[in-house]
């Protein structure tokens, strides 16, 4: 750990896992959704369900959905702010199979009608992991620039993505492929060392068989 992982982060309390991590889960969900969220159905699993209210986990998740970082002093007021910003929300307790004790399942919609379902865990010290995207198992943190491509499961798309990144001299740090079934929908997720230019993302969006391109940074 570097010294600023020992001292810090500066965060709104009371818990790095149940509060700061929850803000990050909300924020990464907002980024995956794109645009402004207008409704959120939020399921709390395990310790998030058991001690979440006392740790402000509910308010923290909403704050992240509203675009706040873990040190934003408006986090305690996020329920009121959600109403001001037109974000309707509903919380429930859920029991997820094989999930980390600190896990949330968020189904969110934006003003344009886009929707996404994100299952993510808070691992401790404010670090998080996205575990499922639209019910497909994935594995990324959102800490590095992350490219999420939803494509039809057919040959060639990985090569197209790799070439688009290579063309701009972007180094891939981690690469993951997931699909719901053979020939079905697939996710290609690349965490990169450098920022990906908008131009590369637009190029990928236009390719046949590529359904959606999301870039988190």
């Amino acid at each position: 750990m570097n010294i600023f992982e020992i001292l810090g982060p500066t965060m709104v309390g009371p818990s790095s896992s149940h509060t700061a991590g929850a803000v990050r889960i909300g924020l990464v969900t907002r980024k995956i959704l794109g645009g402004v969220p207008v409704s959120a159905e939020i399921g709390l699993h395990g310790s998030f369900a058991a001690t979440g209210i006392g740790h402000g986990t509910d308010r923290a998740l909403l704050a992240g959905l509203l675009g706040m970082e873990p040190d934003d002093m408006r986090i305690p007021d996020s329920m009121r702010l959600a109403r001001d910003f037109g974000l309707s929300y509903h919380f429930s307790s859920v029991s997820l199979r094989n999930a980390h004790p600190n896990t949330a399942l968020l189904t969110v919609k934006n003003a344009e009608g886009g929707t996404v379902k994100v299952q993510a865990s808070s691992l401790g010290g404010g670090r998080i992991m996205v575990n499922k995207l639209n019910d497909i198992t994935v594995n990324f943190t959102g800490e590095k620039p992350t490219l999420i491509v939803q494509n039809i499961d057919e040959p060639g798309h990985l090569a197209e993505i790799a070439y688009a990144l290579y063309y701009k001299e972007i180094n891939i740090a981690t690469l993951q492929l997931y699909r719901n079934q053979k020939g079905g929908y697939a996710f290609t997720i690349a965490e990169t060392d450098n920022e990906i230019p908008q131009e590369s993302i637009e190029t990928l969006k236009e390719l046949d068989g590529i359904l959606k391109v999301t870039y988190i940074h």
Binding site: I3, F4, L7, G13, P14, T19, T51, I53, H55
Partner: protein, 288 residues
């Protein structure tokens, strides 16, 4: 790679004839590929955030559970109107730790050091030094580097998470870091810093993490007080020339071993210790 032992930090101090904090600063510059200016400005920001968190304590706030809050104000009133047993400096250490712990529980902004649950220890000892002894800010930043270096070694050799090592890993680590910081601040030698870090943690070995209702409230807030006071005592002992018979690295290793042997009910699950007392259970049930 960061230092994996206090011994290697001390050796580097001797070989390069540099103070403890400077060795940690240089390691940070190397590790994160940054420069002195960026590193210092980031540390300064953390310090300012600690000061701000202390200044914005709200003595009227209660936590969402309703269990904690307002004790920082109560302690301040007592110090102002009574001849306290601890005296002015330790009195303000106690009040500072309570205030920060309560601010954290009340969803105010704090600096995790090394965790949110232990966020009161370092500021509780450093802020009174800054205000009462007029320590310049640059010296405070040096002390923070020293504390971070100790924390790094603890995180490497043992743990700084209550879920892994119990409260000794949170309040114990914070106390060890704060003790080293105080010796740095008072001009002690690198060896005295290591002795203070060792003594402060030795006194908290075995401390379990047994939070009532699983919340960072009871007993966490008051344990920040003990972590801070223990740090002051360990620092003064080290500055007096008292040595720790067990070297710091071996104390950290012992903490790991104790944490490994600790039952899961005593590692942040909220099932054992104080959480399992009749009153702990009553408080928990009242919330659900």
């Amino acid at each position: 790679m960061p230092f994996d032992s206090v011994e290697s930090i001390l050796n580097t101090c001797r070989e390069q004839d540099k103070p403890f904090w400077a060795v940690i600063l240089e390691d940070d510059i190397h590790e994160r590929g940054t420069d002195r200016e960026e590193s210092f400005s980031r540390m300064k920001q953390l310090w300012h955030n600690m000061l701000q968190a202390d200044e914005t304590y709200d003595r009227n706030l209660k936590s969402a559970s309703g269990i904690v809050g307002t004790d920082g104000g109560r302690m301040l009133d007592y110090l102002h109107s009574n001849d306290s047993l601890c005296g002015g400096f330790i009195g303000s250490v106690i009040a500072g730790a309570l205030k920060m712990g309560e601010s954290n529980a009340c969803m105010k902004r704090i600096v995790a050091a090394p965790t949110a649950g232990a966020c009161g220890v370092l500021p509780a000892v450093l802020i009174p030094c800054y205000h009462r002894f007029g320590c310049p800010e640059s010296r405070i930043l040096e002390a923070l580097y020293t504390s971070a270096g100790i924390g790094q070694v603890i995180a490497y050799r043992a743990s700084i998470a209550g879920a892994s090592g119990g409260c000794q890993a949170e309040i114990g680590s914070a106390s060890s870091m704060a003790a080293g910081a105080l010796v740095q601040l008072r001009g002690g030698t690198p060896e005295q810093i290591a002795d203070a870090a060792a003594m402060a943690l030795k006194n908290l070995l075995g401390l379990v993490c047994d939070p009532v209702a699983g919340l960072v409230e009871v007993p966490c807030i008051k344990r920040n007080v003990i972590g801070a006071m223990g740090a002051v005592a360990a620092a003064d002992m080290a500055l007096a020339g008292i040595r720790s018979n067990i070297p710091a690295d071996q104390v950290f290793d012992a903490m790991r071993e104790i944490g490994d042997k600790m039952d899961a009910s005593l590692r942040e699950t909220g099932f054992g210790g104080l959480a399992a007392t009749p009153e702990g259970i009553r408080l928990r049930d009242r919330l659900s």
